[in-house]
């Protein structure tokens, strides 16, 4: 997986969110599935709903919100989240 490849929320997905404290539940209207997300995963998804983004730029945007450095470990963490979203059909690569 190339880190500079951009991701977007898959076009067919209609996502509904609700948060309590630092946890989110997300309903995907396209699949009928509901997911429990931690704060970082929710921030990734909310950011991708605004605009397509690649792994590194997502890490750079989210890290300050978490008050941490966007080091390699954090980038890897974001990449894992993106892989999970991809496998659930929530996000897809943008057509370049």
């Amino acid at each position: 997986m190339r880190l500079n490849q951009k991701w977007q929320v898959a076009a067919e997905n209609e996502l509904l969110y609700h948060s309590w404290d630092d946890e989110f539940v997300v309903y995907n209207g396209a699949t009928g599935d509901t997911h429990l997300l931690g704060l970082v995963a929710a921030q990734v998804l909310l950011k991708l709903q605004q605009a397509p983004a690649d792994t590194v730029s997502l890490a750079e945007w989210i890290a300050p919100l978490q008050q941490i450095e966007p080091d390699d470990e954090f980038v890897f963490f974001i990449e894992q989240i993106l892989t999970d979203f991809d496998s659930l059909g929530i996000i897809e690569h943008t057509q370049l």
Binding site: H18, E23, F24, V25
Partner: protein, 304 residues
């Protein structure tokens, strides 16, 4: 007119011929059977329920059919018929009354999508309802039986019905299903409780049904406001413990306990969101019913 207005022979005759139109919560069930144990069970546990003969309408038409062939003499069986269809495999004739109860639950959970339906017990006290979703074996029905014998109003032992428009809990007050050891636990806890005959060797083990308090039956038209979601867990020897549960996690567990969340789509999500928002959520571990009742008595209505 209530079921208790019929003498046992009249009840049996009614069930055998035209059938009985029984009102339980928002549903009218038209029951027919010539099986005496079923008539006895209905006479005992549904005595306080109103008949709805004059409407000529029923939400569900169920018929418990005794064997018609050699099965009459050799390991006799019973069939459950719903609107003329046979949705389940036959069971031993001795299990006819539990089969009626399970079948009535299935009628509601599988066909009443005007509600969000959860596999949960619901009880109400002083204007607040507690919803107790739980997998089998968690001690939900035992705890429910104990609470309704200590002043809580029974809305349902099995199916929480949530009104789509108001989010209120709609009563579906029916007999409480007890299994195995919990039958003896409740007999000891409340010697005055009225229980049906024990039926052994069912798919759930030994089962008996407890008659709901008459007051709960007569208030079957009164909805309740959701106040608490409690996930019960019976654990032998455990210390009684009520622990707050994060709401997002409670939400996911509620989704798991729902029968028709997926069918309702975004509306199901929004209803669940409103429900969890309105409630304080807890995990509850218990082994002692008196202590459990005391903990529930101390629940404070959420401030919204």
């Amino acid at each position: 007119m209530n079921v208790s207005a019929l003498t046992p022979p009249e009840l049996f005759s009614r069930l055998k011929e035209a059938g009985l139109f029984l009102q339980a919560g928002p549903f009218i069930t038209h029951m027919q059977t010539s099986i005496r144990s079923v008539a006895e069970g209905i006479g005992l546990l549904y005595a306080d329920y109103p008949l709805a003969e004059d409407t000529g309408f029923a939400d569900f038409h169920v018929h418990l059919i005794p064997p018609a062939n050699l099965r009459r003499w050799f390991r006799p069986q019973v069939l459950f018929s719903f609107d003329g269809r046979i949705p389940f495999k036959p069971l031993p004739l001795d299990q006819a009354f539990p089969m009626l109860e399970w079948g009535m639950n299935w009628c509601v959970s599988g066909h009443s999508h005007q509600y969000l339906i959860l596999h949960a017990a619901v009880m109400e006290k002083q204007g607040g309802a507690v919803i107790m979703p739980a997998p089998p074996g968690a001690g939900k029905s035992t705890l429910c039986a104990a609470l309704i014998n200590r002043g809580w109003r029974l809305l349902s032992d099995e199916l929480a019905l949530i009104n789509k428009a108001s989010g209120a809990l709609v009563p579906l007050c029916r007999p409480v299903s007890l299994k195995n050891e919990s039958i003896h636990v409740i007999r000891r806890f409340e010697p005055c409780a009225v229980l049906s005959r024990e039926v052994r060797d069912t798919m759930k083990g030994t089962v008996a049904h407890m008659k709901p308090p008459a007051g709960s039956v007569t208030q079957s038209h009164v909805s309740a406001r959701p106040a608490w979601i409690v996930f019960p867990k019976y654990q032998p020897g455990a210390v009684t413990r009520l622990e707050p549960q994060p709401k997002a996690r409670a939400f996911m567990r509620m989704v798991e306990s729902a029968f028709n969340y997926s069918q309702l789509g975004p509306q199901g999500f929004q209803m669940m969101e409103n429900l969890v928002d309105a409630c304080d959520c807890y995990e509850f571990t218990y082994s002692n019913l008196d202590e459990a009742v005391a903990v529930f008595a101390d629940l404070k209505l959420p401030v919204r």
